[in-house]
């Protein structure tokens, strides 16, 4: 085990470059999948004809497939039908599709957990269906969704590592390259990468706990 060699300035900078890509890809995918997931989740909740059943089938299919397969597909299969995506775009698209399906279920579940009596009360007080959704159901539902949403975001951040399958230069890919330089680096690098992922996710879960106590 060669800790000094493994943690050379050059290697550390190389891993930092990887972490940067991981964070950018994760950040973009979190924002996109949250937006799309919310829209799909609300549509599933409102049971719109035609649209809602289509979303149900889409969400179920995507949730039951491996994310690795989806990312791979975005990069290598789509060009055959004329859609060429770069490394970063393919990863963000794959992650967003998969995580949006997960988030849609969280949103739908959160909204469905609001007591029916509240909706009846709002409607009989003269609020429209849209107003009821916006002022009564969403604010309460969102609060309940915070913990599962944050754990989904943590999953997303971890799942960016699956993009090694298309050689996205993110943290795990760079770690693999450094490990390839010599077996004495293996254990120090694996330890360091574990500490990096753990720290980032730990910060996320601390933020989530703060949010929970503030809204409780």
């Amino acid at each position: 085990m060669d800790f000094a060699g493994a943690y050379s300035a050059e290697n550390l900078r190389f891993l930092a470059d990887g972490l940067y890509v991981t964070l950018i890809v994760a950040g973009a995918s979190i924002v996109l999948s949250f937006l799309i997931g919310c829209i799909v989740g609300v549509i599933r909740y409102t049971r719109l004809p035609v649209l809602s059943p289509i979303m149900l089938v889409g969400v179920e299919l995507i949730r039951n497939l491996p994310l690795l397969l989806i990312i791979f597909f975005m990069r290598f299969a789509l060009p055959e039908v004329g859609i060429k995506l770069g490394l970063v775009a393919a990863t963000i698209t794959g992650l967003t599709i998969f995580e949006a399906a997960m988030i849609a279920e969280i949103v739908r579940g959160g909204l469905a957990s609001i007591d029916k009596g509240q909706i009846e009360a709002a409607r009989s007080s003269g609020l429209s269906a849209m107003q009821t959704l916006w002022h009564i159901v969403l604010p309460q539902g969102l609060r309940r969704m915070v913990p599962p949403l944050v754990s989904q975001f943590i999953s997303l951040l971890k799942d960016t590592s699956l993009a090694v399958v298309i050689s996205l230069p993110e943290l795990m890919h760079h770690a693999g390259i450094v490990i390839g330089h010599g077996y004495t680096y293996t254990i120090p690098i694996l330890l360091l990468v574990a500490v990096i992922y753990f720290s980032v996710n730990f910060v996320l879960s601390v933020i989530s706990r703060r949010l929970e106590t503030r809204h409780a």
Partner: protein
């Protein structure tokens, strides 16, 4: 859609399918045993055991599955005891999933009202007897849906085996792809193989959840 790919390479797909099923099943058994142990640690009346259990769960849950797999793939080979991709991948899957299963089992045990433990203990049963005869048989019913969900995750997650040449569905799909140059069709069929496993399981989990909801 070129179905001749499916018929011509059915044996190759089947070989991968077997690898995926075998790895997922072995990892399920391993992660259940490990997860149950960690869950018991986490609620044990001995403080160091609780610390160990909590540390294990928090650490593993916050690092990517691929990193855990790398630890069992590159780690042993750096120490001079190389493991093949299938073995390392399956152990990695089991260790990673055990942290989630431990949490599910712990939640199941805590969901059983305290009065039952108190009643059992005051009837003269020991702590271990109370656990084995009173608490665990009831908890297991509550734990089945989350366990089912973890099994679905295991099947999807087993796709990381391909990254360490672990002889799973994604790995064998690569062979088909290299032969046919028809990436789109090749991987649509891969998706169908995964769905054949995960969709029935998802349905089963949902049915069981509904049964529980009606009971409680």
């Amino acid at each position: 859609m070129d179905f001749t790919i499916l018929t011509d390479y059915f044996d190759v797909y089947l070989e991968g399918f077997r690898g995926t099923v075998l790895s997922s099943l072995l990892a399920l058994i391993g992660s259940f045993v490990l997860g149950a142990l960690i869950a018991v640690f986490r609620i044990a009346p001995v403080r160091p055991l609780r610390w160990f259990g909590t540390g294990y769960v928090e650490f593993i849950r916050n690092i990517p599955l691929l990193l855990v797999v790398y630890m069992f793939y590159y780690g042993p080979s750096a120490l001079g005891l190389p493991l093949d991709g299938f073995t390392a991948g399956t152990i990695g899957l089991a260790v990673y999933t055990s942290s989630f299963i431990a949490e599910a089992i712990r939640a199941g045990i805590l969901a059983i009202p305290k009065g039952q433990t108190e009643a059992a203990r005051s009837s003269g049963l020991s702590y271990a007897q109370t656990m084995i005869h009173i608490i665990l048989p009831q908890a297991i019913k509550l734990v089945i849906p989350p366990l089912g969900n973890q099994f679905i995750n295991l099947i999807k997650n087993s796709s990381v085996l391909t990254i360490v040449a672990g002889l799973d569905l994604m790995y064998f799909a690569d062979i088909v792809n290299a032969d046919t140059y028809r990436t789109f069709d090749t991987y649509i069929f891969v998706a169908l193989f995964y769905l054949a496993l995960t969709l029935p399981l998802s349905y089963g989990v949902r049915v069981w959840e509904r049964r529980l909801e009606r009971k409680y």
